[in-house]
Symmetry: C2
Subunit: 455 residues, 2 copies
């Protein structure tokens, strides 16, 4: 353990920005199961994705190359928001009375308010150079839609966002920020797509889900040659782009002369967790580094902790290729919890494989634990965390309190992936005792898993 006094905030210079993303697939002990064509159930080829993705991103989805260079035009926009600080939570440590060293990587200091811009920028860029004029996407919490609107605005492209109805209603400011950057926002399920109409016929009051919104956005993109689709999580190329977080963190830990014993990220589709954890996972696999990696889910949407490892669709309508992942069933609609970004039925195939292989842990926390942790953090660290990120805070605090009992000076790193400015309606509910801890029952699991296709 280093005895050197580490500064509270560790920045990198622009020159120290990583020049390439890290591809987890290059170092996995067992390969990710291939995606399957949704009709033939045969392994999907690049051609299966060409209707909605540009060639460069399809290549990044498939490749086993270890490092992928970041293009100059992407770097230009990255420099508007990166490197992000690695922050030692001295005041939180003091409040907890823990000997642990708590660090967080703060991704909330850009207009999108979250890490999502890390992948929105290259996705917009690769589509732009492929001649695409417009991107469609889904958004849950609103962070991904905001990020894609900002990236499309920067590269002068159009952006159409299908926003999960429950988030659209809870977060009106999210619509406004997307519109301010030129995006158009449609509550999902919507009557403007066949997927939306199907849901609305069966469930006229549907609060929506990421899977439904994905189905709508994919349907629109698949039908137009100048329009592509962009996904904010789950897929390999998205997690690839997010590794910039962990790569920076590794350089910052070198400056701090420390190394994490535990790396924590919240986990919905997995971009947040993969982004911070994969470069450390490489150390674990290749260098046998003794390090725990923990994904934290909402108790109301526990795919890694309670779901089934199986081939399932990424969307609610069965348009996407089948992916092998921990899933609650693609028709599962989680409760209207306030961490909209984590309300997804499945999980990244890479993370699913790493979890299957015992290389990481997963745990879940309730809404009220999440907001209690968020407020404690906010008071002592003078930042307002997003509810999604606060799942990671809750577990970081749990681990720090274990260290208090054992006296261990463990180094804990978590990803503070976003700020909570546009989640204040959720904080208002919590402040006034209106947060309900949604139960996830065995019946719900059984019901959801019925929709996982038999292959």
């Amino acid at each position: 353990m280093s005895k050197k006094k580490v500064p509270g905030r560790i920045y990198l210079t622009e020159d120290q920005l990583p020049k390439a993303w890290y591809n987890m697939q290059a170092d996995m002990p067992n390969p990710v199961a291939p995606p399957l064509n949704p009709s033939t159930h045969k392994p999907a080829s690049g051609a299966d994705f060409e209707a909605i993705f540009p060639k460069d991103l399809i290549e990044q989805e498939m490749t086993l190359e270890r490092y992928i260079d970041i293009p100059d035009e992407v770097m230009k926009m990255y420099k508007l928001m990166r490197p992000s600080p690695l922050i030692r939570a001295y005041c939180l440590e003091e409040a907890l009375g823990t000997p642990a060293h708590i660090y967080y990587k703060y991704e909330g200091n850009n207009a999108s308010g979250s890490h999502k811009l890390n992948s929105a920028v290259p996705q917009a860029y690769y589509n732009k150079i492929a001649g695409i004029k417009k991107l469609t996407t889904e958004t849950g919490a609103g962070q991904w839609g905001t990020a894609l609107s900002i990236a499309c605005g920067f590269y002068d492209m159009a952006c159409e966002v299908y926003m999960v109805r429950v988030s659209y209603d809870q977060k009106p400011y999210r619509r406004v920020i997307m519109e301010t950057y030129g995006g158009s926002v449609i509550p999902s399920p919507s009557p403007s797509t066949e997927s939306g109409r199907r849901i609305l016929r069966e469930h006229p009051d549907s609060r929506g889900s990421l899977a439904i919104a994905i189905a709508e956005a994919v349907e629109v993109a698949a039908g137009r040659s100048d329009t592509n689709y962009a996904l904010g999580s789950v897929l390999n190329h998205v997690l690839l782009h997010q590794t910039i977080i962990g790569l920076e963190a590794q350089k910052q830990f070198e400056i701090a002369d420390e190394y994490p014993d535990i790396v924590i990220g919240c986990c919905g589709g997995g971009s947040n967790l993969g982004g911070i954890a994969f470069p450390f996972m490489r150390d674990k696999i290749v260098n046998h580094q003794d390090i725990r990696i923990i994904g934290v889910e909402p108790a109301a949407c526990p795919s890694l902790t309670k779901g089934k490892l199986a081939y399932d669709f990424g969307d609610a309508s069965g348009f996407t290729p089948l992916m092998k992942m921990y899933t609650l069933g693609h028709d599962f609609v989680p409760s209207g919890i306030h961490a909209g970004g984590l309300r997804y039925h499945g999980c990244s195939p890479i993370i699913s494989k790493l979890h299957e292989d015992g290389l990481m842990e997963a745990t879940s926390v309730s809404q009220s634990e999440v907001f209690a942790a968020a407020k404690l953090f906010a008071k002592h660290e003078a930042l307002l965390p997003a509810p999604e990120s606060s799942h990671a805070i809750a577990v970081a605090i749990q681990e720090a309190l274990k260290c208090k009992e054992t006296g261990e000076e463990k180094v804990i790193l978590f990803n503070l992936s976003g700020n909570g400015y546009l989640d204040l309606a959720a904080y208002d509910n919590y402040n006034h005792g209106k947060i309900v801890d949604a139960e996830y029952t065995d019946e719900m699991l059984a019901e959801g898993l019925k929709t996982v296709p038999e292959l």
Copy 2:
């Protein structure tokens, strides 16, 4: 002009944080006119402030010492948010096609969302060590009230915020964030104070003003021995604390090997402008540095550009000492523009004196100019600016476009004092063509000035 390639974001290390604030009063060619006791009209003594301020802050208000050491306990909280970055707006420069070098100091990366925390922290601290249990204050845009709630939360003190009614209605999230940090928020004018009741009798539909909210907060603090009042702008000690912004910027310009030709800040009470400009004003006065300093006001509330230099009250009820400043009259209630933080009838006595002595310029911009500038900036710099700060952006763009005409490579610095996440209702209005450019007429001026007392 430096030919060295300057990085996009210039950070300082924690060790490089300024250890003392700079007191403009030490170097002014002519002293600030003293405040007057509101009853006797004789120069006010320290004792006149003791009912509402602690001794340390009263001393800072009066002293002519050039540098005031920042206490360790204040530095502890400063390190949660400082140093803030100095950012070279390369992408905005490119979009404008200007040879100018545009820099901004970004103060929006803390939970309060603005520079206001720079003074909230020491004000809470000095009251804490004086044994005070609770602070009252006013807030317009909500930024100051948020900052004081956060600072009081950090030091375990209570905080009661009188929030200008128009902002309270426009910005519900501001109430929530203050409550999240433990503050209690009361829309002003309120029936809970004599000042509030007086206004409500005369104007039951009053939208409030900073001056009314100040009157309420001061009234409450003056009546209780364990309660003091904290002001977010105007006073000398507030501007003193904010000089941390300009002091950091000077160190950052040394790293960039540049020096600003123009320094721009929006100006309501003056803490934003004073904070960035005073250290440069010292260079201008003491070292005869050739530098322009520009304060930017809303056209709807133009105290520096259209007001009268006279002794006037800081609040609407005539509780506060009289201060010599540019004023529109302490009963003047500006239109409900969206830059709530700039809706104040007066201006810092120090800034007023510097303006009277010809050491700085003042200009005003309309609401629609402000939001056009804000959106242009947001698109190219991937940050969402607060409407207040966007007044400075508008003039920075004007100056950069003048450089485009003349070919001059001027170095322009402005203070991006806050982010606009909680101002999205205002952006929504602008996006949908609902921003009205409030007229400020000679009749309004004449009416307002009637309330300036005859001495």
